[in-house]
């Protein structure tokens, strides 16, 4: 079981998940879809839940939302169990993957009112919350257009607005930027940041690792049903970045290259790769007074880390 990280705001625990287990029977075989998944989420925190297809992300998210019953373990949303106490679902808003999540024959305003009432608001409050959200999401001019006539990006904004209409504390976003163009992706990213800043806890799954890197405070990487790594996003990137520096020279004579290699660095054309910080100054002394075009520290990105962890696990 993976230990829990400390939340961003650290004060209010929105979600606690402990030892979630789920197995499915496919023909005669039992497949363990989720194994001992534990995590927590604090107010204002964004946790990116990453993993290859079939790793157990969506099943885990649905167990957190009360849509799939776990075989073992527990889920607590603001202390309540969504599988036993239905009112706890008032604290949950979700945009699920591959789903339209909306009634396409209704307008955004009508969807917001309907789902607001379905989540326990009065029609009056649902209407007024709906209008606020449409204004905020810059959709007011489309309030009376039926959803099926809206662009994919606008539909996704409406789906997020619907997930927020009852003012939930926990937001589950399964692939929120899937199929969106660059502009719509930027808008959704901005909205996710704003929603988190309001003190909501957000769990998002995505295959777009740059999106996860940009938005998340923490990442949990899941593979074959188990969380293989959970850490603060920046800590994880730093840990995988190591101490590798790249020094690019305008020109690198062979004699100097040999000295540099003898010191322990690698040379490729006019580029010197220095594996440790301690060696960097020795290398700089050797190349002096040659012209240095750039010195940079190699930064790992979430994609490299993800591939290393997931492939290393196979």
């Amino acid at each position: 079981m993976i230990s829990l990280g400390v939340g961003k705001m650290g004060d209010q625990q929105i979600l606690q998940v402990e030892g979630l287990e789920k197995s499915y029977r496919i023909k005669k075989d039992w497949i363990r879809a989720v194994r001992s998944v534990s995590l927590d989420l604090s107010a204002g925190e964004v946790l990116a839940f990453l993993g290859p297809n079939g790793a157990g992300k969506t099943t885990s998210i649905k167990m957190m939302a009360g849509l799939v019953r776990p075989d073992g373990g527990k889920v607590r949303i603001l202390g309540g169990d969504p599988h036993r106490e239905a009112p706890v679902l008032r604290h949950v808003g979700a945009v699920l993957e591959g789903n339209r999540n909306l009634y396409w024959r209704l307008t955004p305003e009508e969807n917001l009112e309907y789902f607001g009432v379905l989540r326990g608001l009065s029609r009056r409050v649902a209407r007024s919350r709906g209008r606020e959200l449409l204004d905020r999401f810059e959709l007011s001019h489309k309030r009376n257009a039926v959803v099926q006539q809206l662009s994919r990006g606008m539909q996704q904004k409406v789906a997020i607005a619907v997930a927020l209409v009852h003012d939930p504390k926990l937001i589950l976003l399964d692939e929120p930027t899937l199929g969106l163009d660059v502009e719509a992706t930027m808008v959704v990213k901005r909205l996710v940041r704003e929603i988190a800043a309001e003190g909501r806890g957000i769990i998002l799954t995505t295959h777009q690792l740059d999106v996860a890197e940009e938005l998340s405070d923490r990442v949990a990487i899941i593979n074959q049903g188990s969380i293989v790594r959970m850490a603060r996003t920046q800590d994880l990137i730093a840990a995988f970045s190591g101490g590798l520096y790249e020094v690019v020279m305008e020109d690198l004579p062979e004699a100097i290259a040999e000295k540099v290699v003898a010191l322990g660095a690698l040379v490729e054309g006019n580029t010197i790769r220095v594996p440790e910080t301690d060696l960097l100054y020795g290398v700089l002394d050797i190349v002096r007074p040659g012209v240095i075009l750039s010195v940079s520290r190699q930064q790992a990105n979430l994609t490299d880390i993800f591939l290393e962890l997931v492939q290393g696990d196979r």
Partner: protein, 257 residues
């Protein structure tokens, strides 16, 4: 609960009003099927025939069959289309029980359906020249029939939740339904009489026939049994739906089509 019912009613009304082609098509098909049958019967019987009260009873039976068919497939049809379009899981994210959401929705849809049915019955009455009277006591056996219909509707909904595709089953049930609503079980004797009381909706339909076709008074004893029958089937349907919901959550079958 009233707020939720009104929200469902508004949703049903908007969809009806925004896409009137479907409703008008339905009215046209149901009315023309009846009128076709009526003209055929008239042709076979020859010019001297007077259908009289029997035609009234047939019109009532046809209207009832239309209504019950609608109720019966409302929940299953809704579940199937919501699973297809992807809104089903959002309904299960509600703090209310799914059975409550679907029952309120089915009743809201029934209101809209009643409007269509009034158009159909008015058209049929105009075409046949027979004008029915609607005694207020009709409501009680109709309620008994609808209770049974909603019970079966939840049972069909349970199947739909587990299997998602239930078209074939719907086709079979539709014919069985015609039997249940038209078989004169009130005239059966011996074991057949007991079976008649046990069959869903059949008792209520019999009381309706008595009131409408035979000009009889309301038989409170039989109405009581019909209501009891309705309550039992309604409870069974709800129970089955609850079980199917738990099963679907256990095996992750809520989404997908």
């Amino acid at each position: 609960m009233l707020e939720q019912f009104l929200a469902e009613l508004k949703r049903a009304w908007i969809q009806f009003r925004r896409y009137p082609g479907e409703a008008i098509g339905g009215i046209f098909i149901i009315t023309s099927v009846f009128y076709g049958l009526f003209l055929s019967a008239k042709y076979i019987a020859g010019p001297g025939l007077n259908f009289g009260d029997r035609l009234d009873a047939v019109i009532v039976g046809y209207g009832l069959w239309t209504l019950v068919t609608f109720v019966l497939f409302d929940i299953a049809g809704n579940l199937q289309s919501e699973a297809q379009t992807g809104t089903l899981e959002q309904l299960f994210l509600s703090p209310w029980r799914a059975s409550r959401v679907f029952l309120l929705r089915a009743i809201a849809n029934l209101f809209v359906q009643m409007l269509l049915l009034s158009c159909i019955v008015t058209l049929i009455m105009t075409l046949t020249g027979r004008f029915l009277s609607f005694p207020i006591t009709l409501i009680l056996p109709l309620f008994a029939v609808l209770l049974g219909a909603y019970g079966l509707s939840f049972a069909m909904g349970a199947l739909s939740l587990l299997l998602k595709r239930v078209q074939q089953i719907i086709a079979i049930v539709q014919f069985t339904l015609l039997f249940l609503l038209t078989a004169p079980t009130e005239e059966w004797t011996g074991v057949g009489r007991i079976v008649g009381f046990l069959l869903p909706m059949s008792g209520g339909a019999g009381v309706l026939r008595d009131l409408m076709a035979r000009g009889g008074d309301l038989d409170w004893g039989r109405l009581g049994l019909a209501l009891l029958n309705g309550v039992v089937y309604f409870s069974l349907g709800l129970g089955l739906f609850g079980w199917a919901e738990r099963y679907a959550k256990r095996w992750g079958k809520l989404s997908g089509y």
